[in-house]
């Protein structure tokens, strides 16, 4: 189950890229930057940085196994910090462009909060009880599951944006507020 989720999570970036492209097209045609485009841009940049950070830490685990406690700290605290910066970036970008944060932005921020909380609780268990029996399974399944859910939701929003473009704002005009 865990392997399946991890594999799905790996290919979900293709759908994230597609969603970003559709939102970009939507913004370009309407000549207005929307909340979803800003949110997807933050997701893509944060995702890329986190993959690089994960690879760096994985190589550290292989090369310096004696510093495992320090690597653990940088793993959990680092990823939690990435989520803080991502949420903060979403808010700052919306403030900069004087936009209201849309449903997608709020959903993604909340999901980042959930994953960040998982990081904190997992590390707390490792620190306090020196084990990962309780949070281990939740962490291993929860993080990919939330990431996959994020991709499904953002891609669905992108499909809606595509439909709005295709229908030229007539029949689906009432749904424009979601984007």
């Amino acid at each position: 189950m865990q392997d399946l989720l991890s594999n799905i999570e790996l290919i979900s970036w293709i759908f994230d890229m597609l969603a970003l492209f559709i939102f970009f097209k939507f913004a370009r045609i309407n000549r207005v930057i929307n909340s979803s485009l800003l949110t997807m841009t933050v997701i893509q940049i944060a995702g890329t940085l986190m993959i690089a950070y994960e690879k760096l830490l994985t190589s550290c685990i292989e090369n310096f196994p004696t510093y495992m406690s320090l690597i653990n700290f940088f793993w959990f605290a680092g990823f939690a910090a990435f989520y803080v910066v991502s949420i903060r970036s979403i808010r700052s970008l919306h403030d900069m462009f004087h936009l209201k944060i849309g449903i997608l932005g709020k959903y993604i921020s909340f999901s980042f909060f959930v994953i960040g909380s998982l990081q904190v609780f997992m590390y707390s268990e490792i620190l306090l009880f020196n084990t990962d029996i309780y949070m281990g399974m939740v962490y291993d399944l929860g993080v990919p599951a939330v990431n996959i859910a994020n991709t499904i939701v953002s891609f669905s929003f992108a499909v809606l944006a595509g439909c709005l473009l295709f229908r030229k704002h007539k029949t689906l005009k009432g749904l424009k507020w979601i984007i």
Partner: protein
């Protein structure tokens, strides 16, 4: 050392919770308080009166131009008793695309519809003939 890690982690968690709460309770910032740009519009009336408006970054420029024009129209209606008074709307801008959009809206407002401009962009009914628009590309 573990205590320090624990404290750092919960400081991060505090920031995470605070930022998430702020995102959920987020409200749009007031675009008129923005000082990021020096772009501005100005209405100069032929009797020497004038009014300046500062423009927010590019995405709301067109809406602010509408407000500027609406303001000019309102002032002209007040001057209705005095004949021959005109208003000159001067817009300083950076982007050629914005200029095209503004010109298209002006055409639409003056009753010369442009294919590129959607009906949604029309926020004021009609610009009086004595409002002259002047654009100053940088």
């Amino acid at each position: 050392m573990d205590y320090l890690a624990f404290v750092i982690l919960f400081v991060i968690y505090g920031y995470l919770s605070m930022n998430t709460w702020r995102v959920i309770k987020h409200k749009r910032t007031n675009r008129y308080e923005d000082d990021l740009t020096s772009q501005q519009g100005e209405i100069v009336f032929s009797d020497g009166d004038s009014e300046k408006n500062k423009f927010a970054p590019f995405i709301h420029k067109v809406k602010q131009l509408d407000l500027l024009l609406a303001s000019a129209c309102e002032r002209l209606m007040n001057y209705e008793a005095k004949n021959g008074i005109t208003a000159q709307v001067q817009v300083v801008h950076e982007s050629r695309r914005d200029l095209d959009k503004i010109e298209s809206i002006l055409k639409l407002l003056r009753g010369q519809p442009d294919e590129d401009v959607k009906q949604d962009d029309q926020t004021i009914e009609k610009i009086p003939d004595n409002v002259i628009s002047l654009f100053n590309p940088k």
